[in-house]
Symmetry: none
Subunit: 199 residues, 4 copies
DNA sequence: GATGAATGAGTCTTCATTCAT
DNA sequence: AATGAATGAAGACTCATTCAT
């Protein structure tokens, strides 16, 4: 169905993706209207359905696309020799910030997907936002457990960090719409964890 | 508008509240159809609007009701002399479990409300789910900071605990629909925090 | 169905009639809501239907009642020896004003009935408002044609007068809600007709 | 909102306008169901709202359209040198008859609009039906007062004529649905007025 | 008699999706 | 490929009418 889409110019593809990303991220699956997406993406109603067939397919497409993009980019320039877990976390977050340049609503959309309650796409949404997260966790796992305090295992430290981050982002994305600010605001919490979890 | 509602028998009130709670929790505000709520609650279409006038009013009613109920019940039997933060957390979570007997979807609904993206009710939803959370935090604040490790303050410990819990619940409520299981599953994470944050 | 109604005290009957008259006159048949009528008449929903069975019957009841009342009262104190058509017209209009004391919306309602477009009651409404008018015309016919100018017959003069009056009232009842003012405002036009139609 | 509408073929536009005109004229604003209008106009439910957004906008559109059309057509071929008021009246009425060819319910609708009681559109309805009438009156005012009897002014003669016509039409449109017959039936009354008001 | 809670058919309106051009 | 007019099923909400108390 959407091979046709890939034959478009990269620019046009990105315009359409960003349009969908923005509206889906802000409104959630159900309330996002194809009329608005189409206006935002600068294309006609018919074309949207020509490429994607239906709204669900469009949602799943940008969902998978976003997840895969983040999975590709999240590991950029992260040296293996950086052994401190919390420094690695800071590096992955930095990479997310860089992605905003091309897809400003990508992270916001992925968070909103992890919160999606609409039964139509709930499962798919969870699967991909989870997958994107898991790749990130893999990178964190390469940290050195020996640096951690007492009897804390690396998995435990990561669990806590990830839960905190998810809790924080869920809360913040509702409060402010600026992706960059949200990403930056987590650093203080990261410091607390570092202070208490690293020897 | 809903004084009439309070004149019904407690049983009937609860049936209607639980019906709305269940559908709103599962589907979110927008997708929750009044048709389905009405079927779930075992009443007619007209009656719903007789009592609540419109869908938004119904949502806000169960929202405020749930938040107030949790705010009343969350502090039951929590002794002041329990000084360990994480033991206090376990007690509040235990109280939430007790609430499930009467309103199985109450906690689930309050979580979904904190994630609500529909602009129609977003603000109200955040306000009340926040308020319910805040009362819980107040109870935690009565813990003794002296029991905490190193330079960790009580506010920092609570921040981290709350972020973890939110992150955990957001993740879990999507994965499994059984409120009791979700509530219980957080205990291991609580243990990790206790082990590392208490001297 | 509405024999029961006649067993009520005259006072109570009139309160209910005036409530219905007011709402039907202002809103027309369809838009007049039984909820509002019931409030205006100071009775319960159930009672309205106990007495009248349905909205249409209620409408037809107050319609017939109003028409019959006007037919009874319109001829009061009109001496046979008054021979000038236009003086007779002024007398019938004076009688209508007197009716307002008991049923303030009676004339207004009868006018609105003559304009009713709702197919449910259109025919009945026309029939009775017409009938009330006809009685009035009978009284006018007892005027002396010899007083009229040139070759003008009494029927022609009455036709023109009645058309003018209907046209005037239809226009005015929309513009101002005060029945007394409306009734009085026709007098200048009556003068013009008198000046030109009487020798 | 309704620029789109004007891009349709004139034929299609007129079919839709005539459908709305017919139902609104017969049933009034409130009772006219969009379902019926849609069937009458031979279009789908969605399309109606695609063009007009809501029922009120549709009503106001055909209202303004009808009024403007009548204001344009009412003056056709009326020579300035015709000085007799009642001949001028006959000419404007003749023009209305010609309009029926294209919009059979136009005059009927405009009359019903002048009687509209639904508060949603009452004001607008009165404004435009009034405006259409006023243009007609302007044309009548160009008649020669010197032809009138005695001390009758041109304004008085017009007032009486207009009141008669309104009274007549209100009465007749209820009795028979054939616009052409209604329009023609006024001529006898016009003759009476002419005989008595012209020297 | 009197009440008002309860019903459900009917109304306006939205929106994903189709299709002729 | 690209458009946007056209569709109709589904949703929120209204209101005359019924009925248990």
């Amino acid at each position: 169905m959407n091979e046709k889409f890939y034959e478009l110019s990269k620019d046009k593809q990105d315009t359409m993706i960003n349009g969908a990303l923005k509206i889906f991220a802000r409104e959630g699956y159900q309330r996002a209207s194809t009329d608005v997406i189409v206006k935002e993406a600068g294309i006609s109603k018919g074309l949207l359905f020509h490429y994607f067939g239906n709204k669900k397919t469009l949602y799943c497409f940008v969902l998978e696309y976003s997840a895969r993009y983040q999975m590709m980019e999240i590991g950029r320039d992260i040296k293996e020799r950086e052994k401190n877990l919390f420094n690695r976390v800071r590096l992955t977050e930095g990479n997310k910030m860089r992605m905003l340049k091309r897809y400003p609503y990508l992270d916001l959309f992925l968070i909103s997907a992890s919160k999606e309650v609409d039964s139509e796409v709930e499962e798919e949404a969870r699967k991909w936002s989870q997958a994107a997260n898991d790749v990130c966790i893999e990178l964190w796992k390469m940290a050195d457990a020996a640096l951690l305090r007492g009897n804390l295992t690396i998995d435990e430290a990561i669990d806590i960090t990830m839960l905190c981050m998810e809790g924080y982002k869920n809360r913040m994305y509702n409060l402010c719409g600026d992706p960059e600010e949200v990403l930056g605001g987590f650093l203080p919490y990261l410091e607390i964890l570092k202070r208490n979890f690293i020897r």
